[in-house]
């Protein structure tokens, strides 16, 4: 059956816990869109050719047919703006040079100074990309801005291992830096909203059983989330989270962010199955997920992909509040045909009667 709604209408309807014409599909084709842009992955990640990046996303939408774009380039964008040295591998994801961390010891958290994300390196690129996409597809497709959370950014600046120990051994030094990062992330959020995004996705990667205990996460990032979430809500935009960790703290996410959506790969820490996740959280927030990017989206056969999508739709689609997606970013090197298969499965199995 032909689609009856625009992508934007479909996503907005699902997020109001209503049934759209069909289940929206958004397989998080972020870095993978570079393959439509004429840029190498490294040049895409450098973010210097905004026109090509806009074209890459628009052509990806045209070819794959997904319902929205997420403005994730990679998780080092914010750290780069603070002064972190970044490596740009030709065929891999950009990342900090951990041999030369920006914060070399717990005494160096004071090196983290307020910067202007509108004028700095790749945060500027993301804002310009938001503006370009808003002009091209803002009336038809969901555009989701992206912010890596405060402690995520600091872990990039310090190196994750040392950072996690600092949380317990030098909490005051870390907390002082969190406050500086929060101010910058707030400016960054405002700039993306002004550029025309419909939603902000805050990545609180460490807010799950995979990394930090609940009290430790709450202590260091709870207020950071609240400040940004409150601003986004007040601005009339949508706010949500991405977290691909295991056992996400949905209760903390609700307490501090009141998210319209959570993009996730695994169930919340207080349930044991997706059915239970739907029952407990399905009326409070929209789930965006949870196709495994590696084994299914990248390595799956057409039949396996279809089967996975069908099963997820059967569990979660009823009553809206669900967007079919990968649980984490679609592999920048994964077969693009598989992303299209995900959209096709939403059209085949996700039509609301």
């Amino acid at each position: 059956m032909a689609d009856q709604m625009t992508s934007l209408e479909r996503v907005a309807t699902a997020m109001q816990f209503k049934e759209a014409d069909r289940v929206p599909a958004a397989p998080l084709v972020c870095g993978a869109s570079h393959r439509f842009s004429g840029l190498t992955y490294a040049d895409w990640s450098r973010g210097t050719d905004i026109d090509a990046m806009v074209k890459g996303h628009v052509d990806a939408l045209d070819m794959i047919g997904h319902d929205g774009v997420v403005l994730l380039i990679d998780l080092s964008v914010e750290a780069h703006a603070f002064g972190c040295e970044i490596n740009f591998p030709e065929m891999g994801t950009a990342h900090p040079n951990y041999d030369k961390p920006f914060i070399g010891s717990h005494k160096e958290y004071t090196k983290v100074k307020r910067i202007d994300p509108r004028k700095t390196l790749r945060t500027k690129s993301v804002i310009e990309l938001a503006a370009g996409l808003s002009k091209e597809i803002g009336k038809t497709h969901a555009i989701v801005g992206f912010v890596y959370g405060s402690i995520g950014v600091l872990s990039m600046l310090r190196g994750p291992e040392a950072f996690f120990m600092d949380l317990m051994e030098h909490p005051n030094e870390v907390m002082a830096a969190v406050e500086v990062v929060d101010e910058v992330l707030m400016d960054y959020t405002k700039a993306q909203l002004e550029a025309g995004v419909h939603a902000i996705c805050y990545d609180h990667l460490y807010g799950s059983q995979s990394i930090l205990s609940k009290p430790l996460w709450e202590k260091f990032e709870g207020q950071s989330v609240k400040k940004i979430a409150d601003y986004v809500h007040k601005a009339g935009a949508l706010f949500g989270f991405h977290n691909c960790g295991n056992g996400i703290y949905f209760d903390m996410s609700m307490k501090y962010g009141k998210p319209h959506f959570i993009s996730h790969a695994y169930v919340a820490d207080d349930v044991d199955s997706w059915e239970e996740n739907k029952k407990k959280w399905g009326k409070s927030t929209t789930t965006i997920g949870w196709i495994p990017p590696g084994p299914v989206a990248m390595l799956g056969t057409p039949e396996e992909i279809e089967e996975e999508c069908k099963a997820e739709i059967e569990i979660y689609a009823k009553g809206g509040g669900f967007i079919l997606a990968t649980g984490c970013e679609y592999g920048p090197n994964a077969p693009l045909r598989n992303a299209k298969r995900i959209v096709e499965a939403a059209k085949k199995y996700g039509v609301y009667k």
Binding site: M91, E169, G247, G294, C328
Partner: protein
């Protein structure tokens, strides 16, 4: 020579230092043990490894998370670095050897470092190649050390694909070597697809799987 009581006391203090991530206590107790003439191997295996076993249980039951476990490992290494030079060579069911590293193009080495700490505390010899390791280096290190297991970590689909290429390179040189793979995008399906032997979703499980594979390897050699 220390008395049995003193030895038990030192073991308990080393365990507590690791479990409660007290670096200074671990270091001081190791120094005292060496000075008292306690057997360094017993101190390491019963004290440090015993403590780390409790840490693994706490990690499994979500009482401890990554920061706590890293601090336990820090306490462990503070004592292990002092005890190691005093451990006399012995052949009493020595554990195996592993080559460990993060795949080329990937710098996420947190999981790899936790695995290293848990394996070393359990008496394994770990040849740690670090992060962003070129494929050939895994092959060369396995041949050089004749390690029983090669453990490959990848946190991204872009680095994961290197595993598919690497496994035949390792197996071609040594078909008996076992390959364990791990990291966020890796599942049983990846194991099957890439021809690995096993995966594990955390460090304690990795140790359990390694023990099982080592036992199978040794039975095979004895047969």
């Amino acid at each position: 020579m220390v008395t049995k009581e003193k030895e038990q006391e030192l073991i308990k203090r080393l365990q507590d230092a690791v479990i409660n991530y007290r670096v200074d206590d671990a270091r001081k107790t190791a120094e005292e043990a060496i000075k008292a003439g306690a057997d360094a191997y017993t101190m390491t295996m019963s004290g440090l490894a015993g403590g780390m076993e409790v840490v693994s249980q706490k990690f499994d039951s979500h009482e401890y998370f990554v920061p706590e476990t890293l601090l336990c490992a820090k306490a462990l290494y503070a004592a292990l670095d002092l005890l190691k030079p005093h451990i006399k060579a012995r052949d009493e069911g020595a554990r195996g050897q592993v080559v460990l590293g993060v795949m080329q193009g990937d710098v996420h080495d947190l999981g790899k470092n936790l695995i290293k700490a848990i394996f070393e505390s359990a008496g394994w010899t770990v040849h740690d190649l670090g992060r962003d390791v070129p494929l050939q280096k895994f092959v060369d290190e396995q041949l050089k050390t004749d390690s029983d297991i090669v453990m490959l970590s990848a946190m991204m689909t872009t680095s994961m694909v290197g595993i598919k290429k690497l496994i035949p390179m390792i197996k071609e040189k040594n078909p008996k070597v076992k390959i364990m793979i791990g990291g966020a995008p890796i599942t049983e399906k990846t194991v099957e697809e890439y021809g690995a032997d096993v995966t594990a979703d955390n460090a304690p499980n990795a140790l359990r799987e390694a023990m099982r594979m080592l036992e199978a390897l040794r039975k095979g050699r004895a047969a």
